[in-house]
């Protein structure tokens, strides 16, 4: 166990993967010095052949990942900021997500595409996207978003070991948060949620940075005798619906917190899934607290106004309990 920053833990998970398999090669803009810190120092241990700086040609680099994986590498591609994924959507959605299926299973594409995601503090509209629903929609990409340093490391190792394309999204606003992280290699299995806090009155499913929001609300309401269960899906595709359904069966209430914009977001999917499959177990209307349907504004007070915060989350939980 070591107390570690989330972004460092993510880097450590990548280092473990590189140690165990020389086919793991990292590509990114300034991957050597690493603007975000997620690849910092790797070049010292693994050298410039395995840690490569790339030109600003994101679409091509994402496509190179497909070709390199088909030809025997396990490419890990740092796209820096999740907004930049949009430059690469053709290679990501039309090629990486579909090639295995289209080929009738002839190719395996062990690729990890990662980036910092979400509002990071006045980074404004082109650096504050939470585009995970768009990746989930592709159906051919696994999508993960850790909320703790330990998960950041374990999910990274699991993602690199997975034989499929994985989009690994690191909450920009959590990069500098610390937490205990086991030493050495370990996996946090893809597709498995974790219950961050047990509760019996209401189930709160929280994504990424909103997990901390949910836990704070749970703590606060605990004083008022309200028992809140907090579930962190960690993997957003495929996601662990069973754990959520089982929880809602016990609590009868559901609130979903998501950093993505509301329409067709992950919160919509969780609510739709629960309502179509466990309608009878719901004792009150489900609720969602998400980023509203607007681009992220620059001004701190405007950005704050849009954030999924404790105030909004608590209000949603209390509404469910009425």
């Amino acid at each position: 166990m070591k107390d570690t920053y989330l972004v460092t833990a993510m880097r450590d998970g990548l280092a473990e993967a590189m140690r165990e398999d020389p086919a793991v090669v990292v590509f990114g803009e300034d991957a050597d010095r690493s603007v975000m810190g997620s690849t910092r120092g790797l070049i010292d241990e693994f050298g410039p052949d395995r840690v490569r700086n790339i030109p600003l040609s994101e679409a091509t680099v994402v496509g190179c990942g497909v070709g390199a994986a088909a030809a025997g590498l396990r490419p890990v591609i740092d796209l820096m900021v999740s907004s930049f994924f949009y430059m690469t959507m053709d290679q990501l959605a039309n090629q990486a997500a579909k090639l295995r299926y289209m080929s009738g299973g002839q190719v395996r594409l062990p690729i990890v595409y990662f980036a910092a995601t979400g509002g990071a503090g006045s980074a404004a509209a082109q650096h504050s996207e939470s585009p995970h629903p768009t990746f989930i929609q592709q159906a051919g990409l696994k999508v993960v978003m850790p909320s703790t340093p330990a998960d950041a490391k374990g999910l990274m190792l699991a993602s690199v070991r997975d034989p499929n394309p994985v989009v690994y999204l690191q909450e920009a606003s959590l990069g500098g948060t610390r937490g205990p992280v086991p030493n050495g290699p370990f996996e946090v299995p893809l597709g498995r949620a974790t219950i961050r806090r047990d509760g019996s009155d209401v189930t709160v499913v929280a994504v990424g940075r909103t997990v901390r929001v949910a836990l704070a609300v749970a703590e606060e309401l605990d004083g008022d005798g309200v028992s809140v269960e907090v579930i962190d899906p960690r993997s957003l595709y495929p996601w662990d619906a069973d754990t959520v359904l089982e929880s809602v069966a016990r609590t009868g209430r559901l609130v979903v917190l998501d950093t993505a914009r509301q329409s067709c977001g992950f919160a919509a999917e969780v609510i739709a899934r629960v309502c179509t499959e466990a309608f009878s177990s719901l004792r009150s209307p489900p609720a969602r607290v998400t980023t509203p349907d607007v681009p992220m504004p620059f001004a701190p007070h405007l950005e704050r106004h849009l954030a999924v915060d404790g105030h909004k989350a608590k209000a949603a939980v209390l509404r469910c309990l009425q």
């Binding site: 679409a59 290679q91 090629q95 080929s103 159906a139 034989p163």
Partner: protein
């Protein structure tokens, strides 16, 4: 295609080249007839007229080398060693098609012969070939990757981005542009400023234009580019000037109207790459009429039998549609 491999480091076996070109022609002609009779689902883009490009290029490569291709890819698949029976099976959506019927004409993958995929996205295969080259270079496996793409794809940003990356990293990759002078129904010149061959110069990448209807010229250039890449010298661009005899896709006539002058089409048909090679081999005496007829007959039979076997083959169970998105077995290769 051991034959080709044996010859891989020698010159071009012209009779084998003729055989492959005829195989492509006959395969495509069968597709034409099947489509006309409503027997082929989906889009069909025929390669007729361009056979010398795929044949010359793939015969200059090794079976272990990789190629990526585009929507007009049947010729590339065959030239790289594809099995016509499994191709027909794919086009008919059968279980033992290359992709079990999931891919179809625009997504044929033949991994064992280094065929990484035809592609429905124009330009989509270019970065994929560059990526294969990144792997080859890193693994030092002496493999070369070649990307076939059309003149239309040469206007996609990824083409230039790939040239830049390939030049920077000296990737063992060959960019092969098939300029058939039309992008769908529009003249290449109306969409493409300057010459495609000149687009490599700013990156310091060697480039050549060749007669895409001359299989030997194509073979020579690609062989040179492939060995240049294999020996660590880096990428090349080759523009093959050719022409497609048929429409952009089968069945277009109803809508396309006459976007190509009849004389132009005739002039190019008069430059048929297959007829040219045949008469040359006959003149040289490398072939006589009997052997030529025999060869033609063999390829016709191969295609006919391939189609019949594909036709007789079963389709995949419908449940297959829901599986195969993700590889299951976790962990290392």
């Amino acid at each position: 295609m051991a034959a080709r491999d044996a010859g891989a480091d020698a010159g071009l076996d012209l009779v084998e080249a003729l055989r492959i070109m005829i195989r492509i022609r006959v395969f495509e002609d069968m597709c034409r007839r099947l489509f006309a009779r409503g027997r082929l689902p989906g889009f069909v883009h025929l390669y007729i007229g361009q056979e010398a490009v795929a044949t010359g290029a793939c015969m200059a490569l090794r079976t272990t080398d990789q190629i990526t291709s585009n929507h007009r890819g049947h010729g590339h698949v065959i030239a790289k060693g594809g099995d016509p029976a499994r191709m027909f099976a794919e086009l008919l959506g059968k279980a033992d098609g290359y992709c079990g019927g999931k891919g179809g004409s625009m997504h044929i993958v033949d991994f064992p012969s280094g065929m990484l995929g035809t592609n429905g996205i124009v330009g989509g295969g270019i970065p994929i070939a560059a990526g294969a080259a990144v792997a080859n270079q890193y693994l030092a496996n002496a493999k070369v990757a070649l990307s076939f793409f059309g003149d239309g794809a040469a206007n996609q940003g990824v083409f230039f981005e790939s040239l830049n990356l390939a030049a920077l990293w000296r990737l063992p990759v060959v960019f092969l542009a098939e300029n058939n002078q039309y992008t769908e129904w529009t003249r290449t010149g109306d969409l493409t400023a300057g010459e495609i061959v000149d687009r490599a110069a700013p990156f310091g990448i060697p480039a050549r234009t060749v007669d895409g209807n001359n299989v030997e010229d194509v073979f020579r250039e690609v062989r040179q580019a492939a060995e240049w890449a294999r020996s660590g010298q880096g990428p090349s661009l080759i523009e093959c000037v050719t022409y497609r005899w048929h429409g952009h896709n089968e069945g277009e006539e109803a809508f396309a109207g006459h976007y190509r002058p009849a004389e132009e089409i005739e002039a190019w048909k008069a430059r048929d790459p297959i007829a040219a090679l045949e008469s040359r081999l006959l003149e040289e005496g490398t072939l006589d009429r009997t052997r030529l007829e025999a060869l033609r007959g063999q390829e016709q039979d191969l295609i006919d039998e391939s189609y019949q076997s594909a036709l007789a083959a079963p389709v995949a169970p419908v449940e297959d549609a829901l599986t195969g998105v993700f590889a299951q077995s976790a962990g290392r290769r």
